[in-house]
């Protein structure tokens, strides 16, 4: 009986040991999957680190986000690209593109990211990762003493000035605003408010910014969110951009960049 007991004890010990080893291996695998800062290689991020250069596609025909400058484009997008590069301790190189060339230059790996006032496009998300928005340039109400924060707050007899055929005019029609005056430009719509000929203007946030010191501007009532585009395979680059954007939102860097170009920082 003794040898049998001894064998049994040995087997139990082996089972316990095997269980412990299995648990350790399993735990390590789970930890690696969930927490390890590793994954497939990200050549774009490695190249940026190695060459100390971030290559950014930008369309310099879209002020105040980007416009021609010598030797580099200037505007919100150009400054944001520069700030990200500074944060990472690398140089920024701009690849000047027309709108048609932005995505091709990214997918052909001629550039690392696109920062060019682009909106997330659902048809491209199989290949493109869009970051959290860095700005909402959508439609806002503009008034003298106050501005409605949504369409429900507009009174029936409020007179709303909009630019003819603009997104604001379309939104006013969709929300069945009754007293709408159409003008030739967003600036004229805001001028109608300043002259007392309309209660509010419904215009894009960028146009509103030009009058920021004279009027009250609402939050966006129709969104137009701009993001940074990255190739989906470049997960580490995407994560670093996201972290940097979040840092810029928290430490006031984004606020400073936008205020420089818009004259005010639109509150969310």
């Amino acid at each position: 009986m003794k040898p049998f007991k001894s064998m049994l004890a040995k087997r139990q010990t082996l089972i316990v040991a095997a269980s412990v080893v299995t648990a350790v291996v399993l735990g390590a695998v789970i930890w690696m999957v969930l927490f390890r800062d590793d994954g497939p290689p990200d050549p774009a991020w490695e190249k940026i680190q190695r060459e100390k250069q971030l290559v950014v596609a930008i369309d310099p025909s879209y002020p105040p986000f980007a416009q021609y400058g010598d030797p580099v484009p200037v505007g919100i997008d150009a400054d944001l690209a520069q700030a990200i590069a500074d944060e990472w301790g690398v140089e920024v190189h701009f690849s000047w593109q027309g709108y048609d060339g932005l995505y091709d230059s990214l997918l052909l790996r001629h550039v690392d990211i696109i920062i060019s006032a682009i909106r997330s496009d659902p048809l491209r998300t199989d290949l493109i990762y869009y970051t959290q928005p860095y700005l909402d340039a959508g439609q806002v109400f503009v008034g003298i003493e106050n501005a409605p924060q949504d369409f429900m707050a507009v009174e029936q007899d409020d007179v709303i000035a909009v630019e003819f055929a603009s997104d604001g005019a379309i939104a006013a029609q969709q929300h069945e605003l009754r007293q709408v005056i159409e003008t030739q430009s967003s600036a004229e719509a805001i001028q109608m408010v300043l002259d007392g000929n309309a209660d509010y203007a419904l215009v894009d946030r960028i146009s509103a910014g030009e009058f920021a010191n004279q009027v009250v501007i609402s939050g966006p009532v129709v969104s137009d969110l701009y993001s940074i585009a990255i190739r989906r395979e470049n997960w580490r680059l995407a994560r670093n951009v996201e972290e940097t954007l979040l840092k810029f939102k928290n430490n006031g860097t984004l606020d400073e960049i936008v205020t420089t170009w818009l004259g005010y920082f639109p509150e969310p």
Partner: protein
């Protein structure tokens, strides 16, 4: 049992498969217009639903346009080498004919099998030179299939942009070699076909393609010097208003509508004054913030003025095609403000103004 019941053949109406949508043709239509030069560049390339193709072309006709330019990609038709699937162009051409519209076909976009000579990614515009004959075969197959129905074919698009070369520097000599092969193959397949060169993008970028493009005036000269003049029967041109009225004086270092005159001058210089000119992309953009945008009212005024003043001033101009009639889906950026109607078929004021002009 349930499965058996469902799968057992039963009498009753046959449900058409998605790829053979049965959209009923309208009674044959005729365009009513006061200006036969009105043309639009449709953008039905990625329009999947046949009913939307039909509705788009119906609205083109109702606006008073006689002609469309449509992009019919090689990559969609010949996905496997040597196997042509004509379903999409067949649909577009069938409905265009039904609406009484003339089709100018623009061919381009390279199938994956024809651009696999690189390890890295390539764009749909990347065509290796050893595949030029394959593209020419597609052009010939197209010219033969649609003989008598589509008489005008544009070879490629804006080859003075690196973007249209798949990210490589623009190459006028290379483009001329491509044009020659396509021209000869198309004429062999259909002697009556009219081949148009790829219209060039208006740009003042320096020659050489080092800054993403190549000045269109210089590029056209380079093409003529390379012998391209023998390989197009008519000339396609792109010119835009770029925020300025159509009457603004042209200059080599300025981008405006009348740049087309400088292109025509070069044609004359090389003895091509008898060739017809097709303005296959033009127009103004009314995005409120784009650097080259105009207001909606200006866009309407400039567009109508363009049609009016070119009537007498440019007797050599066959059509003026506005970019673009409608996109199947929004770009969510300023290019959306080039269109005449929205993806949801909402008519923009510019559409209604053109319709009024054409009455």
């Amino acid at each position: 049992m349930f499965v058996l019941v469902l799968s057992f053949p039963r009498p009753g109406p046959r449900i058409p498969r998605a790829k053979h949508q049965n959209v009923r043709l309208d009674p044959p239509q005729v365009v009513q217009t006061s200006d036969h030069r009105i043309c639009v560049h449709t953008r039905l390339t990625d329009e999947v639903e046949e009913s939307k193709i039909q509705q788009t072309l119906r609205l083109v006709r109702e606006m008073g346009a006689t002609t469309i330019v449509e992009f019919l990609p090689w990559s969609y038709v010949e996905q496997e080498e040597g196997e042509y699937h004509w379903l999409h162009p067949d649909r577009i051409i069938k409905h265009a004919e039904n609406q009484g519209l003339t089709v100018i076909a623009r061919l381009g976009f390279v199938p994956e099998w024809a651009r696999d000579d690189l390890d890295g990614p390539t764009s749909l515009n990347y065509l290796p030179e050893d595949q030029y004959p394959a593209f020419a075969r597609y052009v010939a197959a197209f010219a033969e299939r649609y003989a008598g129905r589509v008489s005008h074919i544009i070879i490629w698009n804006e080859p003075n942009l690196n973007f249209e070369w798949g990210g490589r520097p623009a190459d006028p000599q290379g483009y001329t070699r491509l044009l020659k092969l396509a021209y000869e193959a198309a004429h062999e397949a259909n002697p009556d076909v009219v081949i148009l060169n790829a219209a060039l993008a208006p740009t003042v970028a320096p020659p050489g393609g080092q800054e993403g493009g190549w000045n269109d005036l210089d590029y056209l000269r380079e093409m003529y010097e390379a012998g391209a003049g023998a390989y197009f029967d008519a000339v396609a041109v792109h010119t835009y208003g770029f925020g300025l009225p159509p009457q603004v004086e042209p200059a080599p270092d300025a981008l405006n509508f009348r740049r087309i005159e400088l292109m025509h001058d070069i044609m004359v210089e090389y003895g091509d004054e008898d060739k017809a000119v097709f303005l296959t992309e033009t127009g103004w953009n009314d995005h409120p913030r784009w650097a080259y945008g105009v207001s909606t009212a200006q866009r309407i005024a400039y567009t109508l003025e363009m049609y009016e003043f070119t009537r007498e001033a440019y007797p050599w101009l066959e059509t003026l095609c506005i970019w673009a009639f409608r996109y199947p889906a929004p770009t969510n950026s300023y290019p959306d403000y080039y269109t005449l109607i929205s993806p949801n078929f909402d008519l923009k004021p510019i559409y209604e103004a053109l319709q009024e002009y054409a009455r």
